[in-house]
């Protein structure tokens, strides 16, 4: 999507360690952004560019897991690789459960570190692709009129035109016209394709009475 090199966001309160990691990652071809504390990262919250966060567990102020939580609340999808001076089991379990990509122990070997970062970046690309596909589908569905959306929600649940007409209390012929419009606006030829879109957008998960957006 972009030619800019991936950015590794390093959060560590130890300046010497921060610098050393920055040098290693820089020499290995990554763009590096350095933050002395969790709050500093939150201030300059990075956007959607390809990257990941390398996060120290123990820091003064907000520590690693707390920052992870905060980022989740803010909807930031950057994958997080934890680094700790002392790997204690409860902290690592908590971090992984909360969606951390990896949990590394200092001092960390280059190979191990770069592999973890690569995995995180790949993961971010997947996340980003997925997100963009969903966004495209949503833009298609957003073109539907309210009535068409109601018809769409019922069609993808396998209702017959007659049933929909009865349910919405309109003529069966009108339903047919709406259905034609939905197929066109969603750029699909078959009902199966339409169902797939509904599934991806989570429309099927919503209760049948709810005709709103996913």
């Amino acid at each position: 999507m972009t030619t800019a090199p991936p950015v590794v966001h390093v959060v560590d309160d130890d300046a010497s360690f921060r610098t050393a990691i920055a040098r290693l990652l820089g020499a290995s071809g990554y763009e590096v952004a350095l933050y002395g504390s969790a709050s500093e990262l939150l201030e300059k919250l990075p956007g959607g560019a390809l990257g990941c966060i390398l996060l120290d567990v123990k820091m003064s102020g907000l520590d690693g897991p707390q920052l992870q939580e905060r980022l989740g609340e803010l909807g930031n999808r950057l994958p997080i690789v934890f680094l700790t001076g002392h790997g204690d089991v409860p902290t690592s379990v908590r971090a992984i459960k909360a969606g951390a990509e990896d949990f590394l122990t200092k001092p960390v070997a280059k190979k191990e570190l770069l592999a973890a970062i690569e995995r995180a970046l790949n993961r971010y690309e997947e996340i980003r692709d997925h997100d963009s596909r969903i966004a495209a589908l949503q833009s298609l569905v957003s073109r539907l009129t309210p009535r068409e959306k109601e018809v769409f929600a019922l069609v993808v649940r396998g209702k017959l035109n007659k049933q929909i007409a009865h349910e919405l209390d309109i003529a069966e012929r009108t339903i047919k016209a709406h259905r034609q419009q939905v197929m066109e606006k969603c750029e699909v030829q078959t009902l199966a394709e339409l169902v797939l879109i509904a599934e991806r957008l989570g429309i099927l998960a919503a209760p049948p009475g709810n005709h709103g957006q996913p």
Binding site: S16, F17, T19, A20, R23, G26, L83, D88, K106
Partner: protein
């Protein structure tokens, strides 16, 4: 002794008295039926100044007194002193004298001692004390010739030359000569004269009687071997000098070169070896018992004349030793006097007491030494235990902060590794960025030093050997402790602050121990704040000088304080308010502070939390 004058004189006296006796016969018969008056007259034939008289009369009086407590008996005594008064008219004079003297005095019994006294009484009794019974002691030879009236009885005691010679032969089995010392025999021992022919050819007599004292002393000093001296009495020596026979004995005995046998107890202990002797004490007692029996109503006829029991073999052990005479050679029933008692025999009580005292003292000393050793050992043990516990406790504290130590250490190690690996990559570039690589290498050095410092701190913390107290700056110790604690405090979300005095605070203490106290108090404070929300978790350490002599350190926390009921016991060993506490931390802290001359206390703060305070004396030397 009892045959002091010759038989011719006796016969003359008897003739005189027979006339008077006939006149007094009638009242004597009348008095026989009445119970005898409780009075005794002792009639002695000698002079009252003699030892023998004094000794037996004293014994006699003692026995009479003790035997008649309920009905006292009066004792009269008369001494005829026949040695010095022996004129033909003397008996008649005595008769008249007694007659007048004892007019109106009832006499219950007459006790005579010596042949002349018995002889006088037998003649004079009818006239003087008609019907009064008589108890006598006299020479057997004299008594055996008498036909005694039924109300006269007594004891016989025969001193014989034969006895002395037999005794001498016991002492000197090869006896060849017997040297006789004393007044001429006709005065001293008339009966011995009669025995002389019976001595036989084996023993020759060396007659030293009647010599002046000076001459006697010379003669007894040069007696031939196999000779024993036999002493009777010397009242007057050959030079006409009067002697107490005991003094005379002492005077010649010290010059004698041969053992001396005697026949009277009074000479024992004055230089004589001993012999079959008459004991005045036993005699007095014997006569008194006879007199009492009669005064108490026993018939005189029931008491036959018998041998006195007052004659017995008595010897002087000192003399036996002097002449090297074995006690085995003495007669079987011998009494040995003047035993030179061994120290043990003489002082055995004192010796036992002294020995017991020494033994007791030794036991006490030994006990005290043992006690001291045991106490010393216990002190060592307790000191060792304390050190052990302190170390253990420090270990426990360490485990609590081990994660922060790992963090501390891994931080520089991580930096080193990353830097080195970055440099590796940079070196492969063409051209390599040598300037950056140089900076990287410098950083690696710095990180390495930092790791080294962490290790040093760790080692200081773990060091087991107890350093002697040294003067340290309390500020430095607190700062080091804070440095160690900060990572832990951060982890726990506790705000740890240290407010120190701007000037150095020199104290004399083992710095590791002091650090342990601060670590303990601060960690306790952190534990206490755990239940509070992160913003309210605070531990504050303050140090300040009070009055220029004392340093006060306080460690305050923002926890919930210590329950009031647990406050007083908080410093007791094994007392803990924590679930996983050992209960030793504060106990050790108190020990450390008090050992360094300080005090430690705790109180709850008015607006929550507890504050531990300890003081330490300020040392005048400033820390360099």
């Amino acid at each position: 002794m009892f045959g002091i004058y010759c038989m011719a004189q006796l016969r003359a006296m008897r003739r005189l008295l027979i006339v008077a006796m006939t006149a007094a016969l009638a009242p004597a018969i009348c008095a026989a039926a009445e119970p005898p008056p409780r009075s005794v007259l002792i009639l002695d034939h000698e002079d009252p100044g003699r030892y023998f008289y004094g000794a037996y009369s004293a014994a006699f009086r003692t026995t009479v007194r003790t035997g008649s407590a309920e009905a006292p008996i009066t004792v009269y005594a008369e001494n005829m002193d026949r040695g010095r008064f022996d004129g033909p008219s003397y008996p008649e004079l005595l008769h008249t004298y007694f007659k007048e003297k004892y007019r109106g005095k009832d006499i219950g019994i007459i006790v005579t001692v010596g042949v002349p006294a018995l002889d006088f009484i037998l003649n004079a009794r009818a006239n003087l004390w008609s019907g009064v019974p008589v108890v006598f002691v006299a020479a057997e030879g004299f008594v055996s010739q008498l036909k005694l009236p039924p109300d006269v009885t007594g004891r016989t005691a025969q001193l014989s030359l034969r006895d002395m010679v037999d005794t001498a032969r016991g002492l000197e089995p090869r006896l060849a000569q017997i040297a006789l010392v004393g007044d001429p025999l006709e005065r001293a021992r008339p009966s011995f004269q009669r025995e002389l022919p019976t001595l036989g050819p084996q023993v020759k007599l060396i007659d030293l009687t009647g010599l002046p004292m000076a001459e006697l002393r010379k003669r007894v000093a040069v007696l031939p071997e196999r000779t024993v001296i036999a002493y009777t009495d010397i009242y007057v020596d050959g030079a006409g000098v009067n002697y107490d026979p005991r003094d005379a004995m002492v005077a010649f005995a010290e010059a004698a070169n041969r053992p001396i046998v005697v026949d009277a107890e009074s000479y024992i202990g004055l230089g004589g070896v001993g012999g079959r002797v008459i004991s005045p004490g036993l005699l007095g007692d014997e006569l008194a018992r006879l007199a009492l029996r009669i005064l108490n109503g026993e018939g005189v006829a029931n008491i036959p004349v018998a041998k006195s029991e007052s004659v017995k073999p008595i010897f002087d052990e000192r003399q036996l030793k002097r002449w090297k005479i074995s006690e085995a050679s003495l007669p079987e029933d011998s009494e040995v006097r003047f035993r030179e008692l061994t120290a043990w025999a003489q002082y055995h009580t004192q010796i036992l007491i002294a020995f017991a005292a020494v033994l007791l003292q030794s036991a006490i000393i030994f006990g005290l030494l043992l006690e001291r050793r045991r106490r010393h050992a216990a002190e060592l043990e307790s000191r060792g235990r304390l050190a052990q516990v302190m170390h253990m406790n420090r270990g426990a504290g360490l485990s609590a902060i081990s994660s922060s130590i790992a963090h501390e250490l891994n931080q520089p190690l991580g930096a080193i590794l990353s830097n080195a690996q970055a440099a590796e990559i940079l070196l492969r570039q063409n051209p390599p960025d040598l300037e950056l690589i140089g900076t990287i290498l410098a950083d690696i050095c710095k990180s390495d030093q930092r790791a080294g410092e962490v290790i040093t701190h760790l080692r200081d913390l773990l060091r087991k050997n107890d350093r002697d107290p040294e003067v340290v700056n309390l500020n430095d110790v607190i700062m080091l402790a804070v440095e160690i604690l900060v990572p832990e405090a951060n982890t726990r979300g506790v705000k740890l602050t240290a407010n120190l005095d701007p000037n150095p605070l020199p104290v004399r203490i083992n710095p590791i121990h002091l650090q342990q106290v601060i670590l303990n108090l601060a960690l306790n404070g952190m534990d206490a704040t755990a239940s509070h929300s992160p913003g309210d978790r605070q531990v504050a350490i303050r140090a300040a000088v009070i009055n220029n002599v004392t340093i006060k350190v306080s460690v305050a926390d923002s926890g919930s304080g210590i329950p009031a009921d647990k406050l007083p016991r908080i410093f007791e060993p094994f007392f803990t308010t924590k679930e996983k506490g050992t209960g030793l931390g504060l106990a050790i802290a108190r020990t450390i502070i008090e050992r360094s001359g300080g005090q430690i206390s705790v109180e709850n703060r008015p607006n929550g939390g507890a504050v531990f305070r300890f003081s330490l004396p300020l040392v005048k030397e400033l820390v360099a």
